[in-house]
């Protein structure tokens, strides 16, 4: 039997949140074949999931989608249009860039800082 050794632990002092590595708190190599205590769990990171969005398999329309106006199909009712315009005005008045949503959030853009 080999000698047992303690698991080496490295202490790092961070002076600022920006020094936190991007992969803090993630499973190393964290995709499909990662093993976690208690068995293998299927783990996907965000960028992998976003990449899958553009595959042909992800783009065929689902067969049984119920028709819910405003949720699964555009809601063209007049009250919706009024609410939408009001909300957009409010957002535009509050601040410049962070309030506006881009059309394609599925692109892997940098995460902006939230001002809540």
């Amino acid at each position: 039997m080999s000698e047992s050794k303690g698991i080496p632990i490295r202490h790092i002092r961070l002076n600022h949140l920006s020094e936190l590595p991007n992969d803090y708190g993630t499973t190393p190599g964290g995709t499909f074949y990662s093993t976690t205590p208690g068995g293998t769990r299927i783990i996907y990171d965000r960028s992998f999931l976003l990449k899958c969005r553009s595959s042909p398999m992800a783009n065929t329309p689902p067969s049984n989608l119920p028709d819910i106006p405003g949720v699964t199909s555009p809601d063209k009712s007049p009250t919706r249009q009024i609410t939408k315009i009001k909300e957009e005005e409010e957002i535009a008045n509050k601040d410049g860039s962070n309030g506006k949503e881009n059309g394609d959030s599925h692109k892997d853009e940098e995460q902006f800082d939230l001002e809540i």
Partner: protein, 219 residues
Amino acid sequence: MNNKFDALKDDDSGSGSEDIKDDSACTFEDVEPGAGEHPLQYTYCFWYSKKPPGRNQDASSFEKNMKIIGTFRSVEQFWRIYSHMIRANDLTGHSDVHVFKGGIKPLWEDKANRLGGKWIVRLRKGLVARCWENLILAMLGEQFMVGDEVCGAVVSIRFQEDIISIWNRSANESQVTSRIRDTLCRVLNLPPNTVMEYKTHNESLKDRSSFRNTEFFTR
């Protein structure tokens, strides 16, 4: 047109009705990932619910107003449904979209939720689409690392704010709830002083409200 004063009244994510049948397992139809698709750890369902304007809700009507949009067990099946839904920023009125594991209803009284609770983050208007997406992707990708504890996630559109929530099975397991909170902060990129709130479903049942009387935690 939604009466804005009604919107300020509290909402339920559960009905508080004693008539809830605990037959969630019976009504759930499981699906398989398609050939060549990337399987998820669990099956999930998209649910939608909307509070009808004006009327006071009676206890059982909440469950009646809830509808399954689709069921998925693979990454591709998820995108198929999600891509064909309106973005969270464009949802209107007093409505909620829920993504819950197959067999768990997004109701306080469901067997899986009775001892559970939820973290909530309140967002000003305009931010919800990105946060909601990041939250679901983290949940589906098993980023929370709390075994089987996560039950589902909810996005709630309200009059002057939007709220995202993540529900877990055991409200009293502080290691679990702490880990969920930390992961939430990471995946949503929340600023350091963000207030996060936790509420047990038992409390929600007592005060018939989803988002009032929460416990506050500063990160």
